[in-house]
């Protein structure tokens, strides 16, 4: 199949001899929720930031809707129809919730943008996006007054305002209360299916991953060690070893106890 939304081939990145990401390849299709999991330091965020253009690619190829994105800036990647959220939420704190979303529309107006008022020009469109994400009643609130969970939700709204084909969500639910996490991901999954958006996300909360991912990949020390349906990956011995440990320390301790006895 060549009509994949996102194609990543042999992606690598190293920092001064440390291989953060090594030879990672995968595909993501429209309407699909693909989870990228792995322990801390596995290279998930590096992968994300290379796809989003925040970090230059070390080696390999990335294609979004068939277009090669190597060397493109985050701005150009945005224009290909990519929306993203960050591990630590990045919003415009001096603005209201609605103004944050209006800014996304204002960024798409061409030219210098000296004429007209951004607020009134994009109000309806911004309110539609806020309604979609359940934020309508907070439209006029200053962003700085919002709880963190709602700031995360606002980030999702800003990503959706671009009418994206691909959503990149780096730990979308980090720092949220358990119930809020489930709700946010349920919302994302519903919108993604309705609008045929491909979603690539990382997450530490396995309940969230198993509830919503169509497919998942496991990254360890920069390498993909498993990929497939959640149930398959769950039973993979290598994945279990990475997540639960090999039990070596336990074995040694047990052996020591036996020797003592």
């Amino acid at each position: 199949m060549t009509n994949a939304l996102l194609e990543v081939e042999h992606l690598s990145k190293s920092y001064g001899g440390v291989h953060a990401v090594e030879d990672v390849s995968f595909r993501l299709f429209a309407g699909e929720m693909l989870a990228l999991i792995g322990p801390n330091g596995a290279g998930k965020s590096t992968c994300f930031n290379m796809v989003g253009g925040q970090i230059p690619v070390g080696a390999g190829r990335i294609r979004i809707t068939g277009r090669d994105t190597i060397g493109l800036s985050p701005r150009q990647i945005f224009r290909l129809g990519v929306g993203r959220t960050f591990q630590v939420a990045q919003v415009f704190k001096s603005m209201t919730v609605r103004e944050n979303v209006e800014t996304v529309f204002a960024s798409r107006d061409g030219g210098l943008g000296f004429l007209g008022r951004a607020g009134s020009a994009h109000r309806t469109a911004a309110e539609e996006v806020l309604a979609l994400t359940g934020m309508a009643e907070f439209a006029k609130r200053p962003c700085a007054d919002m709880a963190y969970g709602d700031v995360k939700r606002l980030e999702l709204a800003m990503a959706l305002a671009n009418d994206p084909k691909l959503l990149l969500m780096d730990e979308p639910a980090a720092g949220m209360a358990p119930l809020e996490r489930v709700e946010l991901m349920a919302l994302t999954a519903r919108i993604a299916r309705e609008r045929q958006i491909g979603v690539l996300f990382t997450e530490h909360d396995m309940d969230v991953v198993f509830a919503h991912a169509d497919r998942m990949m496991v990254l360890n020390r920069g390498r993909l060690i498993a990929e497939g349906a959640p149930e398959t990956v769950r039973r993979d011995p290598q994945v279990r070893a990475v997540y639960l440990g090999e039990g070596l320390v336990y074995d040694q301790a047990a052996a020591a106890r036996r020797a003592d006895a």
């Binding site: 985050p74 701005r75 415009f92 962003c143 305002a161």
Partner: protein
């Protein structure tokens, strides 16, 4: 050939004193993250105290004791300043720290004037070193040779101090990561005081060593601080070795620049700095800086266009201002016009600083370019005022497009210092290029057209320009461009991820701001009828900063109030006291410490807090989204 060798040696001798002044600034910045504008003032103070001491102490021993004691005394003053003022502002934004230490500079200038009088002083020759040594047939002062040796010696001593003592290890550790050093149980307060004292000692020592070479003057502080900024920025903030390399580079550049290009020797230094910063944004041996100080965006409440009620109030205020010619005489109207020009200048800077988050320390450049542009248009082409008032802003725009191209590549304190450097370039061009600008004599005879020549007519003209400027800049804040600009200020990562280019957006803001400042400068030239290089000097930039600060950095157009209050106060101050700089400096320091958000900003905060509590009855805490389903 011999000439070049001797010139090279002179350059090395200059490098030593430059290094002494600069390394102190660099060490202080490395640990405390404060750019100490007052460093030049302490350098000057070192020279003055050394002058007084060496007048009293006799002989070789007396001379050297005088130099060292002078440095120690000034270092003590520095320590007291650190404990009383700087400790209060370590967590303040960079801009406020620069302003506060500039306020100290102003105060020191007047104090020096009070204690040592207005005349230049000539110190004694160094006993035993007052002769010259012949090098390739040309004489080189023995004292210069001593300085050439002294620079590397001090560098070596500092290296030993930093690498072989426990204190030095702590200083280096704090330069890398001061929070970690604090977490390890080191008393930060005394570490900071110690570092600041050492830095000031080195500056004062550098100043004191100058007395056998040059006269002790009141201009020593601002002339050295510009060079020191250049050296520190090229060498990399926080790096001592970098400061040494950069000092040698700059001093040699000056030494040979005078031989090759006498007219633009001052420009050369700043050009090199601009080029170095574009290639290596954090200097030779510096590292990217994480200041961790909050940006202005985080302190700002959402901005709104004026409500109908506010619009009516504003219209009433404009009407009242338009009626002033019925009440005021010609002096009052000329003061009024001056205030309105200050309003234009201040809002032009506020657009860049508040909306753009770009703290410019060299806004005088665009004001001055506008003023000179208009004046030259009149003098050379005989253009009428109407056309000259177009040339002025275009000159400001051109300057902003050229300088802005370099500046927007940097951010934070490097941005501030580069803008200052460009303002100094423009100043030195106006000062040195006598054939065009008239140098120190300025350009005279810049008079308005007949219809605008009466005080009332000119006042109305400035009022119209000011009203239009404020309204246009306010409009831009709420335009799509304004949203993008604020987005970049609040979160560059997010802005780039939604398709907004930081550099392009800030470049346009820089250009808009420069154009408006140029318009203010053009009006100023016609108000005064003449123009001199001091419109381009550092104090002009500071005036604008203080007006914005007074009005509130976190407001859209608070600087209008700031400009009115500040201009009236400084005109009154000039007439009321000879020590205007002392008072002004003290006021700046007080403002920074007492109103970290500006007067309008702080007052708004005082009013808004209780108001909001009153509007929202108890129990209505911070809003949290709780969708109905899925919750009990």
């Amino acid at each position: 050939m011999a000439l070049y060798v001797v010139q090279f040696l002179t350059g090395l001798a200059n490098a030593s004193s430059l290094f002494l002044a600069a390394c102190g600034l660099s060490v202080i910045f490395g640990v405390t993250r404060i750019v100490n504008f007052a460093h030049g003032a302490f350098y000057m103070l070192g020279a003055y105290v050394a002058y007084s001491l060496t007048q009293r102490l006799e002989g070789g021993l007396g001379f050297w004791a005088g130099i060292l004691v002078a440095a120690a005394v000034v270092a003590l003053v520095g320590a007291l300043l650190e404990m009383s003022l700087l400790r209060r502002i370590y967590r303040a934004p960079e801009l406020f720290q620069l302003l506060a230490t500039f306020g100290v500079t102003l105060m020191v200038e007047d104090l020096v004037h009070l204690i040592w009088g207005p005349q230049d002083l000539v110190g004694p020759r160094a006993p035993g070193l007052d002769g010259a040594v012949t090098v390739l047939g040309l004489p080189v002062p023995t004292y210069d040779l001593l300085l050439i040796v002294l620079g590397p010696l001090v560098l070596g001593a500092l290296w030993l101090l930093m690498h072989r003592t426990r204190w030095g290890v702590l200083v280096r550790a704090a330069t890398e990561d001061r929070d970690m050093v604090a977490a390890l149980g080191v008393n930060q307060k005394w570490l900071f005081t110690g570092v600041f004292t050492l830095g000031i000692f080195l500056a004062a020592f550098g100043g004191a060593l100058q007395i056998p070479r040059t006269a002790v003057t009141h201009q020593m502080d601002l002339s050295i601080i510009a060079e020191v900024f250049v050296v520190v920025v090229i060498g990399g903030l926080g790096s001592i070795t970098g400061a040494f390399l950069a000092a040698v580079l700059i001093a040699e550049l000056n030494a040979f620049g005078i031989l090759v290009l006498p007219g633009i020797s001052l420009v050369l230094m700043f050009l090199v700095m601009a080029v170095v910063l574009v290639i290596r944004p954090w200097g030779f041996l510096g590292k990217p800086i994480q200041t961790g100080v909050k940006t202005i965006g985080e302190a700002t409440r959402p901005w709104r266009p004026w409500s109908p009620a506010t619009s009516v109030l504003v219209a009433a205020a404009i009407l009242l201002a338009a009626l002033m010619p019925l009440l005021l005489g010609s002096y009052g109207l000329s003061v009024g016009a001056q205030i309105l020009i200050a309003v234009v200048f201040a809002v032009s800077l506020q657009f860049q600083m508040s909306t753009g988050g770009l703290d410019s320390f060299g806004h005088a450049a665009y004001f001055g370019l506008g003023a000179y542009g208009a004046a030259l248009a009149v003098e050379w082409s005989g253009l009428p005022m109407e056309a000259a008032l177009l040339v002025g802003p275009l000159a400001g725009l051109a300057g902003a497009l050229v300088f802005g191209w370099f500046c927007v590549r940097l951010s934070g304190v490097y941005f501030a210092m580069l803008t200052l450097a460009f303002a100094q370039i423009t100043w030195s061009v106006a000062f040195q290029w006598v054939e065009v600008t008239g140098g120190d004599n300025g350009i005279l005879g810049v008079w308005p057209s007949d219809w605008a020549s009466s005080p009332a007519a000119f006042y109305w003209l400035t009022l119209a320009v000011a009203v239009v400027c404020v309204l246009v800049l306010r409009h831009l804040v709420f335009s799509p461009f304004g949203y993008r600009l604020r987005a970049v200020r609040d979160s560059t990562v997010r802005a780039e991820a939604i398709g907004i280019s930081r550099q392009r957006t800030q470049y346009v803001a820089f250009a808009v701001s420069g154009t408006a400042a140029g318009l203010a400068g053009a009006l100023f030239a016609f108000l005064k009828g003449s123009i001199f290089p001091d419109v381009l000097s550092i104090p002009t930039s500071i005036d604008a900063l203080v007006m914005v600060l007074l009005g509130g950095v976190a407001t859209v157009s608070g600087s209008v109030v700031g400009a009115i209050v500040y201009t009236m106060a400084s005109i009154w101050l000039m007439s009321a006291t000879d020590l205007s700089r002392l008072v002004l400096g003290a006021v700046i320091v007080f403002l920074v410490v007492a109103f970290p958000q500006g007067i309008v900003g702080s007052l708004a905060g005082l009013v808004a807090g209780p108001l909001e509590r009153w509007r929202r009855p108890a129990g209505a805490a911070r809003p949290v989204a709780l969708p109905a389903e899925g919750r009990q």
